[in-house]
Symmetry: C2
Subunit: 233 residues, 2 copies
DNA sequence: GTCTATACCAAGATAGAC
DNA sequence: GTCTATCTTGGTATAGAC
């Protein structure tokens, strides 16, 4: 596999390719299985060359985390407002993003031990994301889409955070899967939806029902949850 | 620290002590930090001696898992029936148990890679436990304590499984904790309770209200959720 | 920028004396 | 059953030629 000629030749092409390949390996095989050797092999370069671009393995993790942090913050910050249609599709978008960096959620322990310098960042981002989620919940209540019992918001936010972060881990442990598909991600959206569904107002159900994305609206009978048959590798 | 004289001297005392010490180390420091060296040190024996009692590190994990499997199955199998009081305290008991083997939930990836022979067992137990949870939910519906919308049971069971399994992981990532306290476990019980709370019948609320354990019944205003202040190490 | 060759280290595991 | 000493492996990282 030769490197294709690039528009800006020599500027970052190998580096970016290494990052893409590393992300793919981490997601597919788990952070504990991915060695610098395997990364170099998959990128089609030598291990020594890899260390030219990233002086430590930790630097690789830091670069990937940086990517994820930017993407996740810019995504969550766009959610809000009084227009119900603004919330449609937010959950799938978030799941899609966390899906493409799923090693961060699934292999947290290994990541932390391979990149101790990431601990602060991981925690800071987690706190930040939870705060954004809480803000979205508050905005939905303000927009009359959600009605939560007193003191329930914190618990709901925490549960949503847990289920969306650990859905992948749960599937891996429970189903013993090798490969996870897009269908599992949609299933995860439905799991999260069922957390706040009991608190949606009639107005929200009506508004979401008109939205295109069935994952946010009232569940359709035609939309069946992907069952265990699809889950087994 | 000398070994105290035992009622049955020489029969299993070192072996059991090693198991206890290993469990403690795994829970406290994480599966990726615990080496055979650290286990031997903590047990007050030599590494060579450790390998006399457990021929591989994997054997240690297998023995610990066996302990947990027996305990968890015998716990869940006792839950059920039409008497509401039978359910009071079940959730805290389950949390207490999973708490004392929390490395299994928190460090799944490391456990699987250190003990590949455990994968089948872990998965089998997970499936079995979920089935037990589903059975308990069905029993609660039969007893008139719970009323679930059509098709909601599977999602509720999955969400309960996720939150109860990953509560510890969530706290570790989110709060950056060193030490977890009993308070966090109670907080976790409240999180799980809020999952099924919307579906409890009036009869259940009344019955649980009479039960001793506030975690299963209607939330008391006097029982406050432990806040971030208590969470920080 | 990319390669070859190699140093270094930590962790699991074994041999054999006591 | 317990110890000391040692082997082995595999993964991160460096030196230096091209």
């Amino acid at each position: 596999m030769r490197k294709p000629p690039d528009a800006t030749p020599g500027r970052g092409s190998t580096r970016e390719r290494v990052l893409d390949v590393t992300l793919s390996l981490l997601n597919r095989h788990g952070a504990d299985q991915v060695t610098t050797r395997s990364i170099a092999d998959a990128a089609g370069i030598n291990e020594g060359n890899l260390y030219y671009h990233f002086r430590t393995k930790e630097a690789l993790y830091l670069a990937l985390f940086d990517r994820f942090e930017r993407a996740s913050l810019s995504l969550l910050e766009t959610i809000g407002g009084d227009d119900p249609s603004g919330y449609a599709g937010a959950l799938p978008a978030w799941f899609r993003l966390s899906w493409s960096y799923r090693f961060l959620f699934r292999d947290t322990l290994a990541v932390r031990s391979a990149a101790p310098g990431l601990r602060r960042g991981l925690r800071r981002l987690a706190v930040r994301l939870m705060a954004e989620m809480a803000r979205v919940m508050a905005a939905m209540q303000h927009a009359g889409l959600l009605r939560l019992p007193d003191g329930e918001q914190d618990r709901l936010v925490a549960n949503i955070g847990i289920v969306s972060c650990y859905w992948v881990s749960f599937l891996t442990l429970h189903r013993g899967m090798r490969a996870l598909t897009e269908a599992h991600m949609q299933w995860g959206c439905l799991q999260v939806r069922s957390l706040y569904a009991p608190f949606l107002t009639e107005a929200a159900l009506a508004a979401f029902d008109r939205a295109q994305d069935p994952l946010v609206g009232r569940p359709r009978t035609t939309l069946s949850r992907p069952g265990p048959a699809a889950a087994e590798g």
